[in-house]
Amino acid sequence: MAKANFEVPEITGVTEVPPIQPDSMAHLETFRAKPEFMEALGFPGEMPEDWKEKAIEAMGDMLKKYRSFQVFLDSCVKCGACTDKCHYFLGTADPKNMPVARQDLLRKVYRRYFTLAGKFFPKLVGAVDLTEEVLHDWYNYYHQCSQCRRCSVFCPYGIDTAEISMAAREIMDRIGVGDKYCNEIIGKVFRIGNNLGLPEPALADTLEGLEEDVYDDTGVKVRYPLDEKGAEILLVTPSADFFAEPHVDGLMGYGKVFHEAGVSWTLSSYASEAANFGMFIGSYENMRKVSLRIRKAAIDLGVKRIIFGECGHAWRVAYAFLNTLAGPFDFLDPKYPVPQHILEFTWEQIQAGKLKLDPSANDDMVVTFHDSCNVARATRMGDKPGGQFEIPRNVIKAVCNNYVDMPDGTIREATFCCGGGGGLLTDDLMELRVKGAKPRMDALKAATEEHGVTHMAAICAICKSQFTKVIPYYGFDMDQIVSVHQLVSNAIILTGQNEGGEEEESEEDAA
């Protein structure tokens, strides 16, 4: 079990609602971005003298630009329905991690400066002046929200704390208070093309390595092309897929599926990132700038379709926002939705009988599936509502003989966040990440005890990185996390593949 300098919650298989422990997470403050990184995104590098006025001004501006922000700040009745829905509250017991209380940190300032009641009777309605203390709370607790939207499912008015967190981060950025992790990463995308700062030669190298690996395993030359003009499909995938485990096994899987489907495809070094952290910091402009890279890559390479690899928030930005931010995509083939998810593609191929699959290749596993929060509650796959739950499960069941779900109330639209989403996947927030994973760990434990689950499949780069890092704290093994397309990759039998040449690595891992 991994060591921690904080108390790791005990998992029992059932997540109990803890009694509140005020300020139990007040100490956790993620690193601040340096001035140069703030300025690269168009924000002030330092806090100005008149930061209070500037913050209120920014809030006023957001109120005019975002209906969600205005309506959500007004509509909460403090019913408490959301108070036990956030994984961070369930894992930390800090009441400021209850969605409504998190919103209130901003709402009480909104009331003070923008409503009659708050101007005249601040005490009565809980309105307060903006002070350093309040700002401090904003910074800490708006960086303890993974913007997973679980609260919005259960709120009678659909109040989505994610929207408030995004707005709060934007307001703070506009007064020079930004977090290091997100803002530095966005800067890397602008400079190099992806979150990890992998330049073109490194990408080319990695992809070549993948081709060799697949050839060694199967005897089939599967291509992993980069910057190939005239390819039919542009694949945009999170950069973690290029080297992190188990992400890269998923990337191998995409390539095999494309190969068997007989379509030409390419990655782009210019748009070598599906992730879009502009969403996490609530910045329309930055999110748009990152998205426009994908448009440019698609035009430059002359592709007909855009497909996204496995990533949660990236699929949200792609599915729900890309058309808005970087559309219209009238230069692409109108036969296909823009963009598509790799699982939509794979599922179509499976249904069309294009893939030869041997699910027994995954017989060493009993698999369960973690619905990523953004995919589950902010997007769709296929043409029916809820396709985002069915299609991944259908694909898994087509390539695995042993599949079981985790308990109801922890999956599908009620899924628990992995604990590392929303731009919190940084080591300085490890305590939060571990504690926030508790509800998912409880569910995994329950599935393990009841059904002998050995592996949990995920379709999000952040989920995969987060889980491999935090599940050891709970006594699981990091190899228990797999990519969905890794399962596909294991089961697929390529045309002309060596007999008995199936991949062995995941079997060794499982043993």
Binding site: T83, D84, F121, I159, P385
Partner: protein, 247 residues
């Protein structure tokens, strides 16, 4: 005409103006602010008609609340359905002749006030008993509940204990509507009831009671899930695009 009649009538006109302008202002404000991104909480309907149904379930059955917390749902339903029936019954003071449905609802409407009060007391109890709810409760939340409970109680008492002169009351209310003032029965309970209701109307647009308006404008509930099929761009975002094209 007694001073009391004039004061209560004036207060009601004032309250009505505040209520209507306040609510209309909010509606206008919410309608005016764009929603720049598609943010329906999914799974969401893929057609407009589907959204209408989703909203209907949300407004009339509190669908999300039902998913969230059954006890809270029961209390909220007791209060809101009770209130709805009570309000419906009150139509008899404002319509002449009283339509048959309102007459038929009369016996239910009378007892609905109990449901309403029980619901409110239950909601209030949660604010003391559950530590999480206690934490998020502000003084105004207690005041609002107190106001509603008192309105319910004073109303129920005029119906069940100290009967009011209904005929005179109706003349008064009809007089309010037709701007032809008639004397208000000087019954203390009734006067208290009316003063509290006027207070409620005045605070409504400036308080969390606005949720009744907000729910219709909640983008996570009222947006159609069709971002790939239909491009959605807010006016201020369109400007960003134009600026670029021109530069």
């Amino acid at each position: 005409m007694s001073l009391l009649t004039i004061i209560v009538a004036a207060l009601f006109y004032f309250a009505a103006v505040i209520f209507l302008t306040g609510v209309l202002y909010r509606v206008w404000l919410y309608a005016k602010v764009p929603a720049p991104l598609k943010i329906a909480t999914t799974p969401a309907p893929v057609t407009r008609w589907g959204v209408v149904l989703r909203m209907f379930r949300e407004v009339f059955f509190f669908e999300s609340l039902f998913k969230s917390n059954k006890l809270l749902w029961i209390l909220a339903a007791l209060f809101h359905y009770g209130l709805a029936l009570v309000l419906f019954r009150h139509l008899r003071y404002f319509l002449d002749p009283v339509p048959l449905v309102v007459q038929l609802a009369q016996p239910f409407g009378k007892y609905a006030s109990f449901a309403m009060i029980i619901g409110l007391l239950g909601l209030w109890a949660r604010r003391f008993l559950i530590d999480r709810v206690r934490y998020i409760t502000a003084p105004s939340d207690h005041l609002m509940l107190a106001l509603l409970v008192l309105i319910g109680l004073s109303g129920a008492l005029t119906t069940f204990v100290a009967h009011t002169d209904i005929v005179a009351l109706k003349q008064f209310t009809m007089g309010l509507l037709t701007f032809d003032l008639k004397p208000l029965p000087g019954d203390p309970l009734l006067v208290i009831h009316l003063l509290l209701v006027a207070t409620l109307m005045i605070v409504f647009p400036y308080s969390k009671l606005l949720h009744g308006v907000g729910v219709f404008f909640s983008p996570t509930r009222n947006m159609v899930d069709n971002p790939r099929e239909q491009r959605h761009v807010a006016s201020w975002a369109r400007k960003l695009e134009l600026e670029e094209e021109n530069s």
